[in-house]
Symmetry: D2
Subunit: 337 residues, 4 copies
């Protein structure tokens, strides 16, 4: 941390700041310029809280030097983390495609989709049983019945299942049925939920909040990791910007950036990012080319009848075509699919 | 709802859309232009879900005509709602100032602050017992001990207490101690929490998410209202933008806009909106002038020692000066303080 | 400037950076932490260009310590600048309201408006002769004929005139007619234009770009100041965000922030910021309460017939009511109007 | 266009709106719902200006149905436009890479770069002679001397040259030397400049403004097209968001979206979008995979000595490696490079 003192800060203000820092067991380097005095803080190995210093009299601002995340950082853990789920490895040389309906609606819908995506080469089945919906008047999901249908689809296809959990107290229930617990974008900073999935014995798919920075995403991962669960998969799903043609703006640069900053696997959700099925295929190719470890894609046998988010869902035939088109792109960047 | 068909949509596609709409008990108006056919939907009084139509073949997009919120809307409920809390009325001619520390840290800190803000004219005591923090390494609040201190401060000063609740299962506990339940910005779309406070017998202070539109804020209020709790206070606390000098960007226009669209009272949080104590006073004046029904302001006896967000906290003397400065502004817009 | 070296930067990389900095006539302070070496640069009084250092091998990033603007900064020039325009003083104790139509459309429209705003107490007449329009098919302004009408309105009312200039080569023409040259939001970083108005002998009203930071606004002012024109009036007119109910999001905190960082006067444009006439009045009050030195407001005798931006224009009677309502707010914050 | 009347709009208000629309030679469809009356406008083939209707009494809002751009739209011109520049075809099956330094600094720097990028397979040389810089104290480019060096590099390598023009009156000068005129992001809505390049006999590379929507980019293209120049190349170069790790946020979805909405070729600038050379390669691959027709990339022989934007420039060897890595990606999506 660097402390920038105000123009005209007094010697005693500087001395107070210095004393406070040394109390923490840190060392101090003073640098007196003509217009400002700068205090360099040489840390004690633990993350520092800039707040208390920032409020001291005579301090203009502080500047962080180290990243605030540690367990999630590549500096701390240089090798790629590979998350294994029932034999599927996320973060390995082979890419992983997760696919399925936005919401589980019925046995027929789910089984038809599960078989179709398995045929097309997907390795994980996605489907929402509990749905976060902006309106209290919209379909909220089938709940536990949806979880049972997901488990049944897994029995039949062998595909592991990822599904969203929205409340800490539902983590035990969802863990009974699901292979990967999804934390949705709206809950990325629901700390009670991060705590609960951090203590669960299940991999976690952590979606970036629609207005969260890359650093905040990694801090959310840090919460989960700090509770003892090191099987975290990061998911870029688009951020909110002023552009309104697409539902969100996919931050494609976040993919290589996250791979640089962190050892955790990164998957991309082109369906929520764009909100339009006709953009899902080119954006999926872009994600693979940028180095994503996987994709999570909405597929619905009859999107025009879907109870949620059908506008961004592919039909099975289109999904199969997308998978065929992705393979050469994956190979072009040294991956398999 | 208006349905815009694609250029070249066939007669049978138009017929299918029409049939679907009529199934819902709605009527249809066709308008055939040279380049597009437009289908006007005349509703049945209930909110329509645009999704199923949007996914039908031949449909380009749909356009909502009515607002998606109802219970929260002024059209539905033209008179201002006044929320009463232990004799304090929020949304009435007299403005209400809520003040106190970001986090409850100790009995001394809280009581000293509570007495100071009461002397200065504040009517509600705020203070966090459970704190949402970006980093797992930051102070997370005193928990129930903090709630007990708040209750003690209420005993001593008579000020009702507002404090944040972060998890549905903590709603009963927090309700035992608090007079107003605060839903924080990060939890504005935590639907399980909205459900829980919707069933609680307490007023709710609902903060706008930093990534949420005015419409989404009103939809979150709609969740609470639809669960039977009609004592909701809206809070504008700044949104996230590209500007980095301030912590957030206070959306001052949202104050008169919310008052137009809704009957619920609106308060403003200048402390979180700016993140800088020296901006709190001018921004508070602006909020009052724009028509806010109240303010929620961070005050700490020793901000340089605060365990969270001290940089945006006022000292008691400064807060008292702010209150004195606000009174003529309130009077200038026909309110009292 | 602070230079943060990468983890594991070599001694020779550090020596290279140090040598480069010393070449500039600056001094260096080394601070070797356990994870990073930090190099503090003690400047030579001139702004430093961080770029060349940032690209040197072994450098992770640089951190600016001083603000990049100088002539525009309050540190450099502690006293408020008051810009005088034909006897009207912008930045003084008395607030200044500029009003008039978005676009000059006809002699009748302009004179009717000019008389009405003068009666209501406005001190400057605004009106566009050259209009920046998103669509090539929209009305582009009357051009020089509009300038002549503005000059005629000034003759008749005595009100000085502010109007936009969009091209460097039109600065001489516009200067012939106008008392204040307006640089529009879309042109805030049109450097050729900033250069040209910097050399003109006229006050400049510089509008903040819709996606420009406060710092970029001050850098644009710096361009004008550095070309010898020190009569610059800053204008906050809303920034672009994800919120779509209003046309832009007025950054009310920018008003006190600009007053802190700079000595230049600050006016607010509530008409463009909100895009809705019914929000103009409360937002104007907020701007005054926040410490703005003035307002620029759209008024049109028949907004429903306006050729541009009528939706945000007030009728004269409404404007007169707004002015009456503003006076007590101005007095409440120690100003006159 | 659809006109939504306010709740409670009177018959005479509706009649006035209807009369106005019919004056324009358009037809009207009335749709009376329980809560709102909707007026559908059946156009006369020309773009309608919504403003005048929006301001009429009783009107709540209007909704556009047709896109406001025409010449730039694929509906109007279904076949891809291919822009030919001295034998290089932009928008054809073969992708085009433009490369070179951000700013032309010296003959040696430019020629060394030009030879290197030609060897690596680039087909167009980029380099700035006039530079838009946020600070008046930064290097502003070599001006005409830079243009002469660009022409000399073209002589030597045969590569056509793209360079930025910042002012309308410099268009003739820049046209003397350059093969493609670049309109920079800050000037995307500099209408005088769009007019001037629209009348020049040269292809135009039009960069999306950092604060501009896809629709606004297409409207800026419409300006150029409407002045008779149909050789416009669109360029996505990142938009401004809250994320600060990267300089801008590349809107990768805009690539397929622009290809859908428009017939114009689309290139991507990964250097400005990310601001970090180490992200340029993965983001370039993503752009190719998403369907871009080309790339524009900064290359500098000694980025650590560059006078502008070195942090995002690749060294020649790294650029050659990037080109090798791109070829299989291009082939994977059916293109050549």
């Amino acid at each position: 941390m660097i402390v920038v003192m105000k123009q005209g800060a007094t010697k005693s203000q500087i001395a107070n700041v210095t004393a406070r820092i040394e109390q923490w067991g840190c060392r101090v380097h003073l640098s007196e310029g003509e217009e400002r005095t700068i205090i360099g803080v040489i840390g004690n190995g633990r993350p520092l809280d800039r707040g208390p210093i920032e409020r001291m009299t005579g301090v203009e601002r502080t500047v962080p030097i180290l990243r605030p995340f540690k367990l999630a950082s590549r500096e701390f853990h240089p090798r790629d983390t590979v998350v294994s789920v029932n034999g599927v490895k996320v973060g390995d040389q082979q890419m992983v495609v997760m696919a399925g309906p936005c919401a589980v609606e019925s046995r027929d819908q789910l089984l038809e989709t599960a078989r179709a995506i398995e045929d097309a080469g997907a390795q994980v089945l996605r489907g929402g049983a509990f749905k976060p919906r902006t309106s209290p008047y919209s379909f909220q999901g089938l709940g536990e019945k949806g979880l049972r249908l997901l488990a049944e689809a897994r029995e039949e296809t062998g595909l592991p299942v990822v599904t969203e959990v929205m409340e800490p107290q539902l983590v035990p229930l969802v863990t009974t049925y699901a292979d990967i617990l999804q934390v949705g974008a709206r809950n990325m900073q629901n700390y009670a939920l991060l705590h609960a999935v951090g203590e669960a014995q299940r991999p976690v798919l952590l979606k970036r909040g629609m207005m969260s920075t890359v650093e905040e995403l990694l801090m959310a991962a840090e919460y989960i990791l700090s509770h003892g669960n090191d099987r975290v998969i990061l998911c870029e799903r688009g951020i909110r910007t002023f552009e309104q043609y697409t539902r969100n703006t996919l931050d494609i640069s976040a993919v290589p950036l996250l791979k640089q900053l962190s050892h955790l696997p990164v998957v991309v959700d082109p369906s929520h990012a764009t909100g339009k099925w006709e953009l899902v295929e080119p954006v999926s190719r872009a994600a693979v080319a940028a180095g994503a470890d996987g994709l999570i894609i909405e597929v619905h046998p009859h999107p025009e009848k879907a109870l949620s988010d059908g506008a961004q869902s592919l039909k099975p035939a289109r999904f199969a075509a997308l998978m065929r088109g992705l393979r050469p792109v994956a190979e072009a960047v040294g991956r398999t699919l």
